[in-house]
């Protein structure tokens, strides 16, 4: 065994470029991912602002962008969805926080493959540049939505933006797939091979479990999207017809022949459904971690949490058909997909139950991270309840492609995952930047965001049930939707306020980075390994030693212990919980 490790072997690299730009240090890479996602989320948010304004005033001339035409609306929608799903929801929780804290939480000095880690960040970055470029090329950004359904996405002449813009879109996604594959490989190998002595699988914090399972999903799902994307590129540029039947576009008969748009839907959703769990699982991990820490109680049912996440991951690959009930599939397949989809409700409910159980009869410390974790649970429940409705083929015939679906996935995937990120940011900021964030502003930010979120997305359910279709540009022109316009107006005003409130967060973030009060090594009195090391952690995470783990991750309120929490490296105690 390597006993001859020398002191200088783990001294950090010198020079600005090796230290901050092309760094191999997982912590720096994590922060790079974090800021990339922060940039992306603001771009995505700005696009959504334009969309919301357009929806209530389709003919208004806006500053900067002028009047938004229907096709521009569709590009905004596409870019909003794609940027949010890939470059925010997939990037920050996994690439950002996972990269920073997974090695530390298992007691490793770095990721298993640091070079690969660096490459995966820079590949993601290139992907982001490529997709942003789609705005600026001839014809602008594509129109086909984040799901990229053909034939619209497969035929160059199908609309403005479906030329070079769509090529850039799909290229960016292919690049993103490669980056995610590299990342997933690294996460998995690190977790399997680099756990410190005593860090058995069943002593890993639930955050680590969630990143680990997310990585499994990523590894298996992105490969499929990559293939689907390559075939789409072939259809677009080599004249093949995987996805395109014989069609007429703009009065012209296309040379394509014999393909099936459903093939894309199958491949896309085989990736797409696991992808929604890729977005949400890290949030579940962080929430578990924070709920336990701030309730000063062991997580309720640690093993059940682990098995529930594994079950979600497993079933997640068998339910893609629930996005395709309307595609004319056989009622038997629809029944099977519906049943399997409902099965996912069970582990989801177990998790919710355990979160509530953790908080039950606890002396809760209501600090900002905790508020956001509770917010996560709330959104997960409100968004999740509409899932079983959508999973009924009969109901889905009415609800598919309406605002009901938009409400469902924004609550559960969009904002819940974002709440997970906020929770993670407020929770780990002290460790990452060595200072505390401002509590009062954190709370104000939380309450505006929580109420704002519900105000924006709850009415969407009503809108959808009333027949409000999604991906329309001018509802003002549709007679039967006229009466629903006040709801749209309400949502737009709520969106403007909520978006404005996000600046509180950014200002708090940057102000605290430089001016916040200095953080101690363990400000939240938590138990996992990141809290035993210095703040911010040294280059090799633990200053040349490898921690030895004796306890489970959530030993709070252990009878007979000196403090109300027992660190994972403290001398062993009889386990208190599970």
């Amino acid at each position: 065994m390597a006993t001859s490790a020398t002191a200088h072997a783990h001294a950090g690299p010198q020079g600005f470029i090796r230290k901050y730009i092309f760094s191999l240090d997982h912590k720096v890479i994590g922060i790079q991912y974090f800021f990339l996602a922060l940039t992306a989320v603001f771009v995505g948010m700005f696009l959504s602002l334009l969309m919301r304004i357009h929806l209530i005033a389709p003919l208004a001339s806006l500053p900067l962008v002028g009047e938004i035409k229907p096709e521009t609306y569709l590009s905004l929608l596409t870019m909003h969805g794609t940027i949010m799903v890939f470059f925010v929801l997939t990037t920050a929780p996994q690439g950002g926080f996972g990269n920073y804290f997974l090695p530390i939480q298992i007691g490793a000095p770095d990721m298993a493959f640091p070079v690969l880690n660096m490459l995966s960040f820079w590949t993601t970055f290139v992907g982001f540049v490529v997709i942003i470029a789609a705005f600026f090329v001839q014809g602008g950004a594509p129109l086909h939505g984040w799901t990229g359904y053909p034939p619209l996405s497969a035929v160059q002449s199908a609309g403005p933006g479906e030329g070079l813009g769509a090529d850039l879109w799909i290229t960016s996604i292919a690049i993103f797939c490669l980056a995610s594959l590299m990342g997933a490989l690294n996460f998995l190998t690190t977790t399997l091979d680099m756990r410190a002595k005593g860090m058995t699988m069943m002593r890993m914090p639930l955050t680590v479990w969630s990143w680990f399972i997310t990585a499994i999903l990523g590894l298996l799902a992105f490969g499929v999207l990559l293939s689907a994307g390559i075939l789409l590129l072939m259809d677009r540029n080599l004249g093949t017809s995987f996805y395109v039947p014989q069609i007429i576009v703009n009065g012209q008969i296309m040379l394509h022949k014999g393909g099936s748009p459903l093939l894309w839907q199958h491949l896309f959703w085989f990736f797409g459904h696991p992808e929604v769990y890729i977005a949400i699982l890290p949030g579940m991990g962080v929430t578990s971690q924070i709920l336990s820490t701030f309730s000063r109680k062991p997580i309720f049912g640690y093993k059940a949490m682990v098995y529930a996440m594994l079950a979600i991951g497993f079933f997640g690959f068998m339910v893609w058909g629930h996005h395709m009930f309307m595609s004319g599939m056989s009622p038997y397949s629809a029944f099977a997909f519906s049943l399997l989809t409902m099965c996912i409700g069970v582990p989801s409910a177990i998790k919710t139950f355990n979160w509530l159980g953790t908080m039950y009869k606890a002396r809760i410390r209501f600090q900002t991270p905790m508020l956001y974790a509770i917010g996560f649970v709330s959104l997960f429940v409100s968004g999740g309840l509409s899932g079983p409705f959508l999973a009924q083929p009969v109901l889905d015939i009415q609800l598919h492609d309406t605002y009901f679906v938009v409400g469902h996935f924004h609550l559960i995937m969009g904002v819940a995952a974002i709440f997970g990120m906020f929770a993670a940011t407020y929770y780990w900021f002290p460790k990452m930047f060595g200072r505390m964030m401002n509590e009062s502003w954190g709370r104000i930010h939380f309450f505006i965001t929580l109420i704002g979120t519900y105000a924006i997305f709850m009415p969407m359910h009503y809108l959808g049930m009333a027949g409000g279709t999604r991906r329309y540009s001018q509802y003002t022109e549709v007679a039967y939707l006229q009466k629903l316009m006040p709801i749209h107006q309400f949502m737009t005003y709520a969106a403007i306020i909520t978006i404005a409130a996000q600046f509180i967060f950014v200002i708090n973030l940057f102000w605290s980075m430089f001016k916040g009060p200095k953080a101690s090594d363990n400000p939240w009195e938590a138990t996992t390994l990141e809290w035993i090391t210095a703040t911010p952690p040294p280059h090799d995470n633990f200053g040349g030693v490898t921690p030895v783990v004796h306890n489970g991750p959530y030993e709070y309120g252990v009878p007979g212990a000196a403090r109300d929490f027992v660190m994972q490296t403290d001398p062993p105690v009889a386990s208190s919980g599970h």
């Binding site: 390597a2 490793a108 091979d193 540029n237």
Partner: protein
């Protein structure tokens, strides 16, 4: 099972002493990493094969492959099978620390791999001349569009899936040959690759798709150069074993493509 020296090479590589838990699957990190990559890659191929089957089920599928095609593909299969054997020999030699034997067996593997690519390339060229092609490929002089319809029996998906699947596989074999070349010869492989690239580019006429596809070698050259620059080390038995995993996987994929694409479309 994991022998003690292998166990913590991942952590030891970072120069931090200390004790670690035994790796879950008892394998060193690089091997785990390769297995995971292969898991993912098999889904990438799985999706392509799904696309193929999906089209095949819903269309009256043509069966145009005559005797020459099948014989050719059988020889190609034999090449790959032999290359798997030589790869195994290379891994054994590496485990005995016999570096010159290792290099020889690796080179043999590369020769079989290259033979596969060349035969496959000739097959492609032949089929394209017969009229099986994609709209975007350069057309050989004097070829009519109708002939294209003839060989694929009016099923454009046939050509699309054929070229899509086999191109993806050929790309994997090419990457494999370059990968083995780097493991066997390290930086001395770069000039060899350069010569092959330039030679192939000038030898292949401009109305042949491979005139353009050959640029993949240039990309491979650049990537290998970067990797060799970042990690200019000797490759050991582990590296050979890991490259072997990749190589066997690529062979295995062909064992799916050969029956599905060729044998099931034999002329009847």
């Amino acid at each position: 099972m994991a022998d003690a020296t292998l166990q913590h090479n991942a952590a030891a590589a970072h120069g931090v002493a200390g004790e670690y838990e035994a790796p879950l699957f008892g394998a060193y990190s690089k091997k785990v990493g390769m297995w995971l990559f292969l898991a993912s890659d098999s889904l990438t191929f799985g999706a392509l094969l799904f696309a193929f089957s999906y089209n095949r089920i819903y269309t009256a599928w043509p069966t145009p492959f005559g005797k020459e095609s099948i014989i050719n593909a059988t020889i190609m299969t034999a090449c790959l099978l032999s290359s798997s054997l030589t790869m195994v020999m290379a891994v054994f030699a590496a485990q005995r620390h016999d570096s010159s034997k290792t290099r020889l067996w690796l080179l043999a593997t590369m020769v079989f791999g290259t033979a596969f690519i060349v035969l496959h390339g000739m097959e492609w060229t032949h089929l394209i001349h017969e009229g099986l092609s994609l709209p975007a490929f350069p057309k050989p002089a004097g070829q009519l569009d109708t002939e294209y319809a003839k060989i694929s029996k009016g099923v454009p998906q046939f050509a699309a899936t054929f070229f899509g699947l086999t191109a993806m596989h050929m790309l994997h074999v090419t990457i494999g040959v370059i990968y083995l070349g780097v493991v066997a010869l390290r930086k001395w492989f770069l000039p060899i690759l350069g010569v092959i690239y330039i030679g192939a580019y000038f030898a292949i006429p401009a109305d042949n798709v491979f005139h353009y596809a050959v640029h993949a070698l240039l990309i491979g050259l650049i990537v290998s150069a970067v990797i060799l620059f970042l990690k200019p080390k000797d490759y050991d038995a582990h590296d050979v074993e890991v490259s072997g995993l990749y190589w066997h996987f690529v062979d295995l994929v062909w064992m799916f493509i050969f029956p599905l694409v060729y044998l099931m479309s034999t002329k009847i």
